[in-house]
Symmetry: D3
Subunit: 120 residues, 6 copies
């Protein structure tokens, strides 16, 4: 198993800490609002993470995709649900999305392996 | 009640007919694949329409938004669910999304009025 | 003098009122944060409006451009400053920006006429 | 026959004149460079216009599409060539391109009608 | 000679295999449609690859650029044709395209070296 | 102190040299126009670099961000000004901008360290 996912998590945590330790009030409020927007409400957390995943995929941001994939796995999104959501992103966003789909698949496979190990 | 929604539907149907009556095989296959991607499967149709709506909103396409709003209304998406999905789109896509959010709100209000009249 | 600018202002006010009268807490917080981000601080208000104008132009949003143009005029941005900022947007964003530059010029001319009338 | 094409041409000419009568040196140089980039060289003019058309379509700019469609018609691009080029744009750019494809079809049909009248 | 190109090819093949071994029917159909869209028809294969290259460049996708560059080299696109096509992409897409133009140049130089070695 | 900044500068210089040694006339003119657009005029150089920085951030181009950050540091942009400009970019562009904000923060910290060493 590669450590693509581990590297992403370490880098993201370190960089977020760096940004927030220097951020002005408005930027801190944006980060707080970002977190609040994915909390369960009329839509459950899994659905909101799928919305974030598809938005990140059509906008083609690998780090955003990796983050929402991790959260999708935590919220119990199934393999078939993952594939249907990413197919919507592919059809809406076109073949320009494919390189991100390829990298997402590697992350998703790592997440499935983590789940198996946790459940073993 | 304005006829923004009616104009959109009439124009979309007429233009789609024009495109498909001239389209080559590959373009026809794309349209068929587009339709197939929103059919209920591991994710239900309402969730898929919300994915299409959020993708259309962060990519800022008014006609795509109007189409998925219509389908969301047909699939029983509630007002609170609509607002939570659009808020995810707003936070992911930023203030550049706001003019589309404004036009979406007008379409959504028309759709709510249609529902009330149908149910009256 | 055309009323392109007047129509934009009327429509924007009406639609913003419609959105905010229905918005959930997170969307209301986004709108408040959006306003706060352009208040004078280490950068003066005119510079921040130019930043918003250039961002709106490279992202190609006519309503956002019209709004920041109005604010630039209010903050005393000169004609030469407007042209240098838009030229940066044109070079960064490419010829795909030109149709928006054309529509911005019409709005800017209306704003210059308004200023002359106010000062006459 | 609608006058969508006529309106586009009149508006584009008027607005370009307005922009260029006020533009600074850098913006004028950009417009000159833009024109120079489509002149026949190692690639013929028709191929360059198809490149401009597909770039405009995946970036989703209706005015840019209308302009390059007009130039494609002038350079003798055939109906089948038009459809293959737009299909590449559709597959690369995804279903978000479809509303622009619909409007392009209307412009293309007007251009075909113009050609028939000219040749009649 | 660097192995940027070799690494790209190996990674792309491995990842495509991973995606397609798990993909649902719709995603498989998208990949098939993507391939079909570049086959010679009313436009020859070299022209279609140039269309794909310019679309990939204005949408700023390095992997897509690398793929279409490889195909352009296979279809006999000349150095001067490459430069005219990329200049159209640069003018349409703006300076934001330049980092991708820089990386494309490195790939293109590797492809030219490969051709010389094959023909030597 | 990491050498992220040093690597960027070395790579950018090497690649620009490669591009320009092969570029056709139009591409060379684009590069010259790009440079000219940031020279002090009615707006000072620092303001123009902030415009370039915000445009690069909302369009999400790491190399463009790194370049304009370097120029901002050279033109005396303060830490508070940097944060207000990037906050405008964040609010306009949305959370999809955050990964670029994280990488920008690392570059900016390196630039602040360079300044301290130069002034020590």
């Amino acid at each position: 198993m590669s450590n693509r996912l581990g590297e992403f998590r370490e880098r993201r945590d370190r960089q977020n800490h760096l940004v927030l330790s220097h951020a002005n009030l408005e930027t801190k409020r944006f980060f707080a609002l970002d977190s609040a927007s994915y909390r369960a409400g009329a839509l459950d957390a899994a659905t909101k993470e799928l919305l974030g995943l598809v938005a990140s995929t059509v906008l083609r941001c690998d780090d955003c995709i990796a983050y929402h994939l991790t959260r999708c796995a935590e919220e119990g999104v199934t393999d078939a649900q993952y594939r249907e959501a990413m197919n919507v992103a592919l059809v809406v966003g076109g073949s320009i999305v494919i390189p991100h789909l390829r990298r997402a698949e590697e992350i998703w496979q790592e997440l499935l392996e983590e789940k198996q190990q946790d459940g073993g």
